[in-house]
């Protein structure tokens, strides 16, 4: 009997991993080396954040005296850094600001992405023109000062709007949703239209649920971009510390610490706060990560295949 396709594939995979023809010693050694290389890669990826986590739990004085990366906390286990973070009203405010900016910018951005993507996926006379209008912004931009001037002219500088509206989306996201909407079978949309559904109903209740992964990928990307954003805040709300997102506080605390520690009697707990705040800003993303990694991976792969 002819081997089935599946059997073929299984056999081929065995060959691929050097299992056919017995385990030669050289193959065994190669397998071990490959395993070790990957262990090294994992180590390199983890150790920086692990070090910060361990430092945040260390004793400040011992930490300052310590050289090199930490695998375990030095000195007595100590939660002082985290206590300081959660007592520091400025940092808490920064945390709140970040959450606010993420929620608002993502909501507004997704509205633009979905509506724009839907309209561009419909056959209209001006469709090519509208697509070119978006595409062009991917090719050329006005640059720092001209953009700043526009934001200033709108009266956004020094307000929360400067951190919510200008960076909430970009053309590529609208285009991605356009592709997603185009992949929805035309017949389902037509039958909804015949049933009397308007464009908003069709868009939100019929088409959007069928866009599947891409909408989620765009949403996740927007959230991550917003959570990590710092540059716009550093130029638009430079002196309004009330409005700073968490990332700007990290930058500030790390910079301050470099100076504080030069002093004669450094405040050791101050040293811990920078590690604690880095963890506080990074842990939410890392904890959420396993839940969305499959989606993101799929998004990267289709993006790479489609170009």
């Amino acid at each position: 009997m002819e081997p089935t396709k599946v059997q073929n594939r299984i056999r081929a995979k065995r060959v691929h991993s050097g299992m056919v023809g017995g385990h030669s010693v050289a193959d065994e050694i190669t397998d071990v080396i490959i395993g070790l290389i990957l262990l090294g890669v994992a180590f390199i990826c983890v150790i920086p954040l692990w070090h910060v986590l361990m430092a945040s739990l260390s004793d400040g004085r011992a930490l300052l005296a310590h050289d090199g990366a930490l695998l375990l906390p030095v000195g007595k286990l100590n939660f002082e850094g985290y206590k300081l973070v959660f007592k520091d009203s400025a940092i808490l405010k920064g945390y709140g600001n970040t959450l606010l900016y993420v929620v608002c910018a993502t909501s507004i951005g997704m509205c633009i992405n979905i509506v724009g993507g839907y309209v561009l996926s419909r056959k209209t006379a001006f469709r090519p023109f509208m697509i070119i209008m978006l595409m062009f912004t991917m090719m050329f931009n006005g640059g720092l000062i001209p953009t700043y001037n526009v934001i200033r002219a709108l009266g956004f500088v020094g307000t929360r709007w400067s951190l919510i509206i200008p960076g909430c989306t970009m053309a590529i996201f609208v285009i991605m949703l356009m592709n997603a909407f185009q992949s929805v079978p035309e017949s389902t949309l037509e039958s909804a239209a015949i049933d009397g559904a308007g464009h908003f109903r069709i868009m939100l209740q019929v088409a959007l649920p069928q866009t599947g992964g891409i909408t989620v990928v765009v949403l996740l990307n927007t959230v991550i971009i917003q959570w990590n954003a710092w540059f716009n805040a550093s130029i638009y709300v430079t002196n309004k510390r009330d409005l700073w997102p968490l990332q700007l506080w990290i930058r500030q605390i790390v910079a301050d610490n470099a100076n504080i520690l030069q002093g004669a009697s450094p405040d050791y707990d101050r040293l811990l706060i920078q590690y604690a705040v880095i963890m506080a800003a990074t842990i939410p993303i890392l904890v959420a990560f396993p839940f969305f990694q499959k989606k993101l991976e799929a998004g990267v792969i289709t993006g790479g295949v489609k170009g």
Binding site: H16, I34, P146, G304
Partner: protein, 310 residues
């Protein structure tokens, strides 16, 4: 003829006016935040005065560009920008491919291990730029973990970020980019390698090709089109990504090696020595290079890999 086109448009508009109305806010967003700044680019050709605005300032032609190109810092800025971009485009581009190959060479029985390491390897991609650069400062500072390892190999113990000698800052930038991007960049290659027809490997193995030969004769040729496509894509965007980290990592002491177009434009805009016209000129220059690179790489991609972004 003209009349027919006219009536076609009229029908289209009657049928689709709701869609056009829906698109208005979207169009407004891009007009205000992307197209208005393009008009504002005109200040690159002005002696810009904040109070008089872009419509009241004096026109000076290409003076700002002349100042930019003839300045002492410009050659250094161009050198640093190109070197860092080239490093990212070569070393930074190859590492994810190698990593993907290593992943796919792992034997099938170690599937869970592969999955775990792969997940860990692209976690750094989601770490914020501010945090990443803080980690770099932590590890390469005078008593940092990496500094200690380097001193073990005979290099002087120092704050590496303050080292103004040529390759140091460039290597730091490239290494940071690799740390953040290798796992994420590998995903697409891992998927491509996994989709290669297994029969090919089997046939090759029966013919006596060892692992190394199979890698060069089957795996690499199979993903070459993807590699070319990713390379052209990366070449088009190489000057747009990652340079905010230079802004977070550089310091006056290392300007000679760390100042790039992005940071120069920034400093000319927001610092004591601000010169808006000059900053706008340098920003426009940067945009122009970006656009050229993007269009060129897009053209090559369409010719060679038969796919393109635009």
């Amino acid at each position: 003829m003209k009349n027919r086109a006219h009536s076609l448009l009229k029908t289209d508009f009657r049928r689709n006016w709701v869609l056009y109305a829906m698109f208005l806010p979207v169009a407004a967003y891009f007009l205000v935040f992307y197209y208005a700044p393009m008009v504002g680019v005109s200040i690159a050709f002005q002696k810009f005065n904040m109070r008089r605005g872009i419509f009241g300032s004096d026109w000076v032609g290409f003076d700002n560009f002349a100042t930019l190109f003839s300045g002492d810092t410009f050659p250094l800025v161009m050198r640093n920008t190109s070197v860092i971009a080239l490093l990212n485009l070569t070393v930074g581009f190859v590492v994810p491919i190698i990593l993907a190959i290593v992943f796919s060479e792992l034997r099938d029985s170690a599937k869970a291990y592969k999955r775990t390491v792969q997940t860990i390897s692209y976690m750094p991609f989601f770490v914020a730029a501010v945090v990443t650069t803080s980690l770099v400062k932590e590890f390469l500072g005078a008593s940092g973990g990496l500094t200690k390892i380097l001193s073990f190999f005979g290099l002087e113990q120092q704050n590496w970020l303050a080292n103004p000698k040529p390759p140091v800052f460039w290597i730091i930038m490239c290494a940071t980019e690799i740390w953040q991007g290798m796992g994420y960049g590998a995903i697409v290659y891992v998927a491509a390698i996994a989709s290669i027809n297994g029969d090919l490997f089997e046939a090759a193995a029966i013919d006596g090709a060892n692992r190394w030969k199979r890698l060069w004769r089957i795996t690499l040729p199979s993903i070459t089109p993807l590699i070319i496509m990713m390379l052209t894509l990366k070449a088009g965007t190489v000057l747009m990504t990652g340079f905010d980290k230079a802004l977070l990592l550089y310091m006056p002491k290392t300007y000679d090696v760390s100042d790039v177009l992005y940071t120069y434009t920034y400093r000319m805009a927001f610092s004591a020595q601000a010169d808006y016209g000059l900053s706008a000129a340098s920003g426009l220059f940067q945009s122009a290079i970006n656009t050229t690179l993007l269009l060129a790489s897009n053209y090559i991609s369409r010719k060679v890999a038969k796919t393109s972004l635009f």
